[in-house]
């Protein structure tokens, strides 16, 4: 009766995923009728997005400043491409809701924040993808990451990469935000442990800290 209630209705044909109509709208129509998603050996996949072969696509993403070759399906999200398809993969961006509500998958696309779960990997081709791993490492922390640690702006840590990414984007755009601007910059990010007050403190402290990297 209400099998379709939760928004993932069974497809009329099992091999026709819901995103195909979406792809058509994006100009993938030529490939759509030709068994785009039929399983083919990886080696048969063509080399560029423009050629759109049956099966997987070989694309090159620019991730944290480096070209990264990756095989994806047309429907593969940027988030899955980063987390699962890249070798070695990048798991800093988290899959939490998969529908653009929580911000745990936040990355930067050409310097602007984006929910990687709502971006198709193929749409990220030719754009600068920055993940939390590109902002700093445990041995070379960014000023904001150091401030998160100093102020204890984290608990379980699962939402933390998303907050760090959103607020890094803010500080690159506005190096001296006020608290309201900090709050607005991360209102697309959810935390359940309750680290918000210390995240705000961390962002404001990092804003005062010297040498915030400009993107």
């Amino acid at each position: 009766m209400h099998d379709e209630r939760d928004g993932d209705a069974p497809p009329s044909e099992p091999t026709e995923p819901g995103r195909r109509s979406f792809l058509k709208g994006l100009g993938f129509a030529g490939a759509a009728g030709s068994g785009l998603l039929a399983e083919k050996p990886m080696a048969e996949a063509a080399e560029t997005v423009g050629k759109l072969p049956p099966g997987h696509l070989d694309i090159t993403l620019t991730v944290n400043g480096k070209p990264r070759k990756v095989q994806v399906e047309p429907r593969t999200t940027l988030l899955d491409a980063l987390r699962i398809r890249l070798e070695p993969n990048l798991t800093g961006a988290k899959l939490v809701c998969g529908e653009g509500t929580c911000g745990a998958c936040t990355v930067m696309l050409d310097g602007k924040t984006a929910y990687a779960c709502l971006v198709l990997a193929v749409d990220a081709v030719g754009r600068q993808v920055t993940t939390v791993e590109g902002l700093g490492t445990p041995d070379a922390l960014s000023p904001l990451q150091a401030a998160f640690i100093e102020k204890d702006g984290l608990m379980c840590g699962f939402c933390t990469p998303g907050f760090v990414t959103s607020l890094t984007a803010l500080l690159r755009k506005n190096p001296s935000p006020n608290e309201q601007q900090v709050r607005e910059a991360c209102h697309g990010n959810f935390c359940r442990c309750g680290t918000y007050p210390r995240i705000f403190e961390a962002a404001l402290a990092a804003a005062k800290a010297p040498a915030v990297k400009k993107g």
Binding site: M1, R5, D6, G7, D8, A9, P10, P11, P14, T15, P17, A38, E39, E73, T76, D80, R83, I84, N89, L90, T91, G92, A93, K94, C97, G98, E99, T101, C102, A104, V132, E133, G136, T137, P138, Q145, I149, E150, D152, M155, C156, G157, F158, C159, T160, P161, R183, E184, C186, H187, N189, F190, C191, R192, C193, G194, T195, Y196, P197, R198
Partner: protein
Amino acid sequence: MSTPTPTPAPGAAPKKMKKIKVTRAVNGIDTEVEIEVEDTNEGPVWGPNDKHRLVNSRLVRVDAAPKVTGAAKYTHDIKLPGMLYARVLRSPHAHARVTAIDTSAAAALPGVKAVVVGPPIDVKLPFEVIFEGQAVAAVAAGTPEQAEDARKAIKVTYEALPHVCAAQDAIKPDAPVVVTGDPNVEPKGKKGEPAQADAAFAACDAVVEADYKTPVIHHCCLETHGMVIDYRGGDTATVYATTQGVFSVKTDAVKALGLPEDKVVILTEYMGGGFGSKFGLGTEGLLAVELSKRAKAPVHLMLTRRDEFTMAGNRSGSWQSLKGGVMKDGRFVVLKTYQRRLGGIADGSAAVQPYVYTPEVAYSEDVAVHTHECPSRAMRAPGHVQSGFAMEMMVDELAHKIGMDPLEFRKKNIKGDDAKNWHRTLDKGAAAIGWSRRNATPGAGAGPRKRGIGCAVATWGGGGNNQCKVTVDIAPDGAVTVKCGTQDLGTGTRTFMRAIVAEELGLGMKDVVEKIGDSRLGGANGSGGSTTAGSLAPSVKVAAYRARNAFAEKIAPLLKVTPDKVTFADGMVVGGDQKLTWKRACAALAPAGLSVLGDWKAELQSKTTHPAAFAEVEVDVETGRVKPIKIVSVQDCGLPLSRTTLESQINGGMIQSMGMALWEGNVMDADLGVRLNPSFMDYKMPGSLEIPELVPIIDDDDPREAAIGVAEPCLIPTVGALINAIYNACGVRIRELPATPDKVLMALLSQEKKA
């Protein structure tokens, strides 16, 4: 879980034992059990709370760097060669008979390696599903997309059956029976004499009778439930689990896999939140194990957010009828309670009334009302949150009815040996919020935006038990490792483990490494019932103390002193006029180093906490919108192990409690039997724009020199404080949570009509 075996000192006489009562949490629900421990005055003590060097200081969370850089690997992040991704198919019906499941089309899809029907695995048809979201099948395939295609291709034939998804319908005599063998209204306990309570009301100066309702609340752990089962046939398996109980998962996994206990390893290096919902293997784990067995490949089964909302448990709702009677002088004479727990097909939870306060006469009755809804699980202070809210509302209403300051009324009616502790936390909170600023008359003040202040108290055990086996290793190269199979939920477990050992050995935080989240390490309790600190910290302290003593024994001859003259401070080992650097001294431990086991010492922990919360809100009487302005939470906890992480935890308690008070709640369409808001889109959690000024206060006047867990108590009272603040602001009682604008406006409107 096995009980740690104390390491006997060589040649020691038989130990004198004593029996004590401790808290043990099973699936997050705490119970009291009697255990036998050594009766001795020997061993370490914590010493005065203000005389610690690292413990009780502002420590930096030791696992922060990997978390802020994305380097920390959670269960969800595990990727193994040949690993399959799994998806679960759930029932869309609240109550139905499953007459057929056709998995052939799904199994034939590209990349699909295994399909499972159940649980129970390979369930015999027909069978009944009794809540929307109940798992009926699962698939594993090469990619998440293929698994999703296959999930959708499973054809299930349901024959819809009558359901009941509202408590007020479930209690009717002709309602469909929800749980076979149980009545829809299942008695859970009675206390007191009803006739005595009824008689006591006659003599009271004022009586308040009201129903208080709290909705089903979701845990909303950012990392959904799930497991990666690495089993490829053969006789060993590794389970990556996002869990609060490494060893309870192990018990379940060993059984499900059918492997010997020593062949199954559970790993939980980092985990993305639990709040009481993540203990055993769970439905998702059972399905993942079976898929892994069938595919002979590792299986990654993490629930989707919608799965999580509909099948992974929640905080049970409540519908509580309270009647209280008082005298004009503030004497709380009588309380009569009828509590209904709304835990769906499960029992839900409730704390025994009267909660905290001690009316002279009390009668309470507690029932579980079953509906065709997802079974509840423990959630941060199960039962206390619901019962505490109702009691704090009742107390506030009674105080106002006799024109008494609600803070004074509370202090007058908390009795017994513990009363002084609540008086202390209440006084501190009142000072911090500025209690005297509050409206003398609720709703006073000009203009549409009205401010008000409210308060509430709570209680929780927070003691520990003897389930943790901790080892401290000192290597000849100077490396110090503290090891236990426990888990860190983001509470700071790793941080206090390291601090205790470093402090005992005269080292810095960077000189010690902790290893946790691995079932090959020493056993540990599940992190439920706030029992982690009280269980683990004493065991770590004993292990560190024994390691220090053992080291002193070994190094004393070299320093030409007796072992009792060896001291450890500032990274040096000192005896008489001889001084060795830590590294130099450790070289004397070659070749094997030291490895010392610590067991639990009851005297190093305590229990029972007395938190108080105060809140200030602004109510817009034209829109009904409630804006939290400031929350103060005062928490006693004996010896604070790590102040920074403790304050963060108290902040979290306030924020989660605020969500419950003002915005959160499961919305069920009782006619259709489906949930209407199973996503973050429609389930409103507190976000960055709603966070008020938060003031976490650690009660440093708690004289106990003992570790006590506070994850749960620090959540409970805020919800009552906020709702009582709404009353103080605008003069209306919101007796059903959350206090959304519609409810506030309706209450204001009905008050206007009365006036």
